[in-house]
Symmetry: C4
Subunit: 203 residues, 4 copies
């Protein structure tokens, strides 16, 4: 373990906050301006898949930022493993604008199924990265004294099923691309609920 | 209410500052470089709608940042509702580059009316988000002891009419797209004036 | 003057740092990837105007950040005028990627003259914004006690001639676009020199 | 040496963190969305060079951020030379998205060799900038008291060979573009290893 790295928790957060803020803002660049030679009103309405993909990806990245932030409020020590796993997690986050644009372009086409699978599968991978990071934090005792058992327990429960939920969205995409998109929207709202509500008291 | 989240005011501000800074800087990417096969001088002049849209959106986002910042100077506690409402507000801010580009491309076309309505309507929605956030802050007693009644009163008065002013700009767009654009410019300057000037002393 | 705004110096700097960092990084997006159907080596070499424009704009924005930063180290109070003038200055900074791309595309064309005038004129305007901001800081007594007279004097001398130097670059562009570009490069290096070296002791 | 600049270490880091975070996030914009008139699945698979280039550049910039960060944890004083050299280093970092996009577009073409040389050569230059910055820090005694000799020694050893390693990757690119890309991936992982492991105790 690295005494130097241990001081770096604040820095990792600041850098991560920057990456989250940029990734969430770049999403808008993927919406294409309607050309001037078609009626603008209907053209703006026809862009609904872009708005929908923008909305879901914005909420998902936003809620992932809130969760990333909650995790790091509990973490008091950092080491090289955390630094590396956090970089992997950010790799997943910065990738999101690409499947978002693919979904927006293809959800109304015959390729909707592939686009929706690709979109949900991206979140499966990110949810796995979140899980691995959290388990390494637990295994290597990186939590601060302020981490209440109730909170820790709740996060473990909420995250454990994250990859499974997004896997369900991926499988649903095979039968119903739009159904899969609706599940992704619901999951963004689900993960916005603070983890402590998922704690079940042992009598 | 969440003791953990209560410490997070500084973080929400830092993340929000990042999103505002990126959204305001991305605006320039929407101005298209003139091709090399037309005279450059006239081509640069013909881009005036892009410069105008860039100017107004820059000032509007900049002034919204100043206002967001003033609000959070007063707020001392955060909770999950604030976190969610702030995310909705940022959703509105990051959307701005899109209607800005639509306005720039279409204001000199027959589609000017639709473009100007779309542009102003975006700010109606953002102004509503600002209002809701401020009212939740008041209703849930999240203000710090440093919040002078005069300032709070002024903000309430200034914000109450925000959505109405932008609604007027939206309606004007039906008859005069450029008139609507001028109102948006005036509103950016209006909201730059500190709220305390809108306080009316009760005798 | 605004007691609240007075606390905001740190925030203005953080927001400004974000805008500078994003504007300087967006410059690279303006360099176009060579298509796959032409020999890549010569195509990469033919992009020298893009590299040159990227280099000069990067250095100029970088040095403007250093200067912005030096100014705010001296400023201890903020008011609404400073907030507004700083927003205008950032407006100029975020605009830079556009004339940079215009210069890169047109410097080898018959439109080189117009492109070089447009590029240098942008910096004339930014230099004027820097001057106005500095003079308002001086006139309204916003400097902290740590501001040595020598430093203040040096900045005033260095900035006074800033708009003139860039005006010279703009005029030279009429006769020699590339000569004008060389002056811009020299000016970036000139403004990197700390202002205190421009202080002349009065005997 | 500049007393004012000496206080600026934190600021340089914050600005640099911003540039690193933006450069690493912009990489995704270079991956092109498949058009709607070709089968989406195979089209997404054919984009493997884009994913590979994204992955390597993301890891390389991420690890360079970690190293930049480690360096500045040791540096306690700043001067104008450090400010300038750091700006040059950031110039290299912000340039990375361009050779990344060139590599992604050309690695499957007859121009693969040129693209791979260009990509690796960019990292040779950045590695040289890192070396120069570190040697100036050592030569001008800018390290803080917390800098253990072991750490300093390890960094010197690890960095000394950085440009050479990337030069090898550049030369390998002449014979095997993909082999060169593999070396770049290995080097990102190599530089993620903390420098102190490269310290050899003198008996």
């Amino acid at each position: 373990m690295n005494a130097l790295a241990a001081q770096e928790t604040g820095r990792i957060e600041a850098f991560s906050d920057g990456v989250f803020a940029i990734a969430i803002t770049l999403l808008i660049l993927e919406i294409r301006i309607p050309p001037v030679d078609v009626p603008l009103g209907p053209a703006l309405l026809r862009l609904w898949p872009s708005y929908l993909a923008f909305l879901i990806s914005f909420l998902t990245i936003g809620v992932m930022w809130i969760n990333h932030h909650r995790l790091f409020t509990l973490i008091r020590r950092a080491n090289d493993a955390l630094l590396g796993l956090n970089l992997l997690l950010l790799l997943g986050i910065t990738f999101v604008p690409f499947p978002t644009a693919v979904l927006a372009q293809h959800i109304t086409q015959s390729s909707a199924r592939t686009a929706a699978i690709f979109y949900s599968a991206t979140f499966v991978v990110i949810a796995i990265f979140f899980n691995v990071l959290w388990r390494v934090v637990l295994a290597q005792g990186m939590l601060g004294a302020n981490a209440e058992e109730q909170m820790v327990h709740g996060i473990t429960r909420q995250y454990m099923f994250g990859p499974l939920y997004y896997l369900v969205a991926t499988i649903v995409a095979i039968f119903s691309p739009l159904g899969s998109v609706a599940i992704n929207l619901a999951l963004a709202i689900f993960f916005a609920i603070p983890a402590r509500r998922f704690h079940v008291d042992h009598p």
